[in-house]
Symmetry: C3
Subunit: 259 residues, 3 copies
C-alpha cells in the first residue's frame, strides 16, 4: 500500500524548499502520497509547530509518516531523530517539536546517524532536504526504524504552559495560537470544564469579560466576542464575522481566566 508522508515546516511556500523536499522523497519512494499540513509555522517557532502538528496529525491514517521541520538548530549538535508509535512514524529534529503530538505514547526512537540513508551531499542549513526527506522516503519503502540509526530512549520534550483548575473551579490558561480568522485558541482543554455549568461562566482576557460558553460562531451577534469550544476541543475566543485578535488586541501568550 502507498504510504502517506505528511510535511509540517516553517519553510513557507515561496522559496521552493518544500518542492525540493518532495522531489527528494519521490526520487526515493515514487509511490509515496505527500500531504502538506502547513509550511507557515512562524520561522523557528517550535511551540507553534508542536501545537499545529499535534492538532492535525491525529486525523491522518494510522500508518502515516510525519515529517516536522522547525529547526533553529540546523547544522548544530541537535540530533535528527525518528520515532515509531504503533504503525506511525515521526521524523524531526530533536528539539521538542514532536512532544505535544507524542504525549505519553509508548515510543521507539532512533538517532538518525547513518548517512547512507541521507542525500550523498549534506548541507549545514537544509536538513529537511538532505536528511529528513530521504529518511521519510526510506521509511515509506519499508526500511525498518532500527536500520536508520542507533536506538535512543530519551528525546527533548517542550516545557509548555499547562492550563490549571483550582479548588474553586477557576481555570487559568493562555492563548497558544491565533488562526487565520483571528480566532484565539487557548490551552484550556474541554475536559477542564467537566462538571461545571457553562452558561454562568465568565471568560476574562485582558480587560475583556465574556459571558458564558456558546456552541458555535452563529450564537454571537455580528461583531460580538464570544467563547466556545474550538475544533481542536479547546476554549476559543472568537468574533462572529470578525477578527477577535485584532478587536481585542490580543497576542499569543496572553492569560485567560475562566470563573
Amino acid at each position: 500500500m502507498n504510504r502517506i508522508i505528511t510535511l509540517t515546516t516553517d519553510f513557507g511556500l515561496s522559496d521552493g524548499f518544500v518542492g525540493v523536499m518532495k522531489g527528494v522523497i519521490l526520487s526515493i519512494a515514487p509511490e509515496a502520497i505527500i500531504v502538506d499540513i502547513t509550511h507557515d509555522i512562524a520561522p523557528q517557532d517550535i511551540r507553534q509547530g508542536a501545537f499545529l502538528f499535534a492538532a492535525s496529525a491525529r486525523y491522518f491514517p494510522a500508518n502515516a509518516i510525519h515529517v516536522v521541520v522547525v529547526d533553529p538548530g540546523v547544522g548544530s549538535a541537535r540530533r535528527p531523530i525518528a520515532i515509531q508509535v504503533g504503525e506511525n512514524f515521526f521524523v524531526a529534529p530533536d528539539n521538542g517539536v514532536l512532544s505535544l503530538a507524542l504525549g505519553d505514547a509508548k515510543i521507539r526512537a532512533v538517532h538518525l546517524n547513518r548517512p547512507e540513508f541521507w542525500l550523498p551531499r549534506v548541507s549545514r542549513t537544509f536538513h529537511g532536504r538532505d536528511i529528513f526527506a530521504p529518511i521519510a522516503a526510506h521509511l515509506a519503502r519499508g526500511v525498518p526504524l532500527e536500520s536508520l540509526g542507533d536506538a535512543i530512549d530519551d528525546y527533548v520534550r517542550l516545557d509548555l504552559p499547562r492550563a490549571t483548575r483550582d479548588a474553586n473551579g477557576a481555570i487559568t490558561g493562555t492563548i497558544i495560537h491565533i488562526d487565520r480568522f483571528g480566532n484565539l485558541i487557548t490551552n484550556i482543554g474541554e475536559e477542564l470544564f467537566e462538571g461545571l455549568d457553562r452558561a454562568p461562566l465568565r471568560v476574562c482576557i485582558g480587560e475583556k469579560m465574556i459571558q458564558g460558553i456558546r456552541q458555535t460562531y452563529a450564537d454571537g451577534a455580528k461583531g460580538e466576542a464570544i467563547a466556545l469550544i474550538s475544533s481542536s476541543w479547546q476554549l476559543e475566543i472568537a468574533v462572529r464575522e470578525g477578527n477577535a485578535a485584532a478587536m481585542l488586541g490580543v497576542q499569543i501568550g496572553e492569560r485567560v481566566v475562566v470563573r
Copy 2:
C-alpha cells in the same frame, strides 16, 4: 478509476485546516487524488468563493468531486448539501457558494443528514473536516448520493449583480474580482460584445476612460491601463507590467460602463 476531489475554501494554508481535511479524506478513500483550487477566498466571502470556484471547476474532468467550504454559518441551521450534475459531485454548505458553477444545470440534491457518513465526533466550528471531507471521500468510494441524505429540490442561489446591455449598446457591469496581479475582472461576459465593433468602444471606470478592447497585455505600453477579455472570458482591466487595482484605486463592486 481514482476519483479527483477538489478543495476550495477560505481556510488559508497556515493553520493546518486543509491538511487535516486531506488526512480525513485519505483515511476513508486512500486512492483519492486531491487537488487544491484555492484556500485564499477572503474569510467568509461567499461571492468571491462562488466566482473563483465557477471559473475553475469547468477545467476538471467530468467525474470530479468538488468540495467548497466558505461557511460563515457553520454550526447554525444552514444545511450541508451534496449535489450531482451528470457524473460530477458538489459538496458544500447551502449558502449559495455553488450557485454560479451550477447555473441552470439539471441537478439532483440531498440534505446531508446521515451522521453515519461523517466523522464520529462533529465539532460546531469545522464541518470541512467533520462533514464535508468524509462525505467527499464516501462519494469517491462510490457511495450513491441518495444514501448520504434526504432528497431536496431547492437550494440557496446567490442574487448576484448581472451585467446588462441597453438598447443603444451601452453595457453596464461591476468589478467582481481582483487577482494577484491587480487585474480587475468584471462580470461583463464576452457574449455581451456580440455584434459590436470593439475598437471604438470606451470603457469607463471611476474617472478613468480606456479606449478600445485589446487582445493581450502586450498590446499596452508599460504602465498603461488597457481593457481586454480575461482568461475567464469576461471584460478585464489591466496595466502592462503593473497593478491596475493599485493604479486606478479600484475595489470590488466598482461600476464599469462600456459605450
Copy 3:
C-alpha cells in the same frame, strides 16, 4: 510508470490559476503526479523564476516534466517552447526562464506550434492553462517532443550577472535572492573559494563587514550577521534567529565583495 510534472509560476495560490492548470493536466493525463515547486515568484520576475527553478529542479527524478510559467509576454510573439535534456522535459515561454537550469546541457528543443495539443480554445492571457499544462500532460502520456512543434536550435538565454574572482583572490558578486527567513543568497558559488583559507576572509555588503565564513547558522550569536555557504552551495549572509535582509537593509542586486 507515472510521470512527475512540476509547476513553477508567478500565479500565486489565491486565484485558482494553479488549480485550473492541475485540472487540465489530470483531464489529459490522469496518472500524472503533480508537484508544486513554487507559485510565489514575484509577478513577471523572470530572473527570480530562473534562479529558484534551477536550484530546485536538480532534486527531482531524471524523467520529470518541468513546467515554468513566468510570462510577461503572454499573448505576444514570444514563442512557447519545450526542451528535452536526456529523459527530462522543460516546458515554458521562450524568455530565458529556463536558461539557468539548462546551463550548457545538450538539448533538443521545439517551438510549440501545433494547436492540436493545446486546449480547444486558447485565451490571450493564460497560456499556463491553455498551452503549457496540456503540453506537459501529453508529454506525460508519452507523446514525443518532436510531435509537439517544429524543431528549433536557439532559445533565449538570460544575461545574468556572474560573480568574479580577480588575480588577488578578491571575489565580487551580487545578492540574487532573499528567502523567507531574510537570508541573503549571492551568486558567488562555493567553487570560487577553492584554495582560499576561509577564516580570514572578509565579506563586505553595503557598510557592513563580516569576518570569516562559518559552517552553519548556529555558529553565530543570536542577532549576529554571519556568512556561510547556502543549501544551494552559494555564499549566503544570515542572522541567527533573525532577518538579515531587514537588519542590513539589503535588497536584491546589492553588491557583495569578499577579500
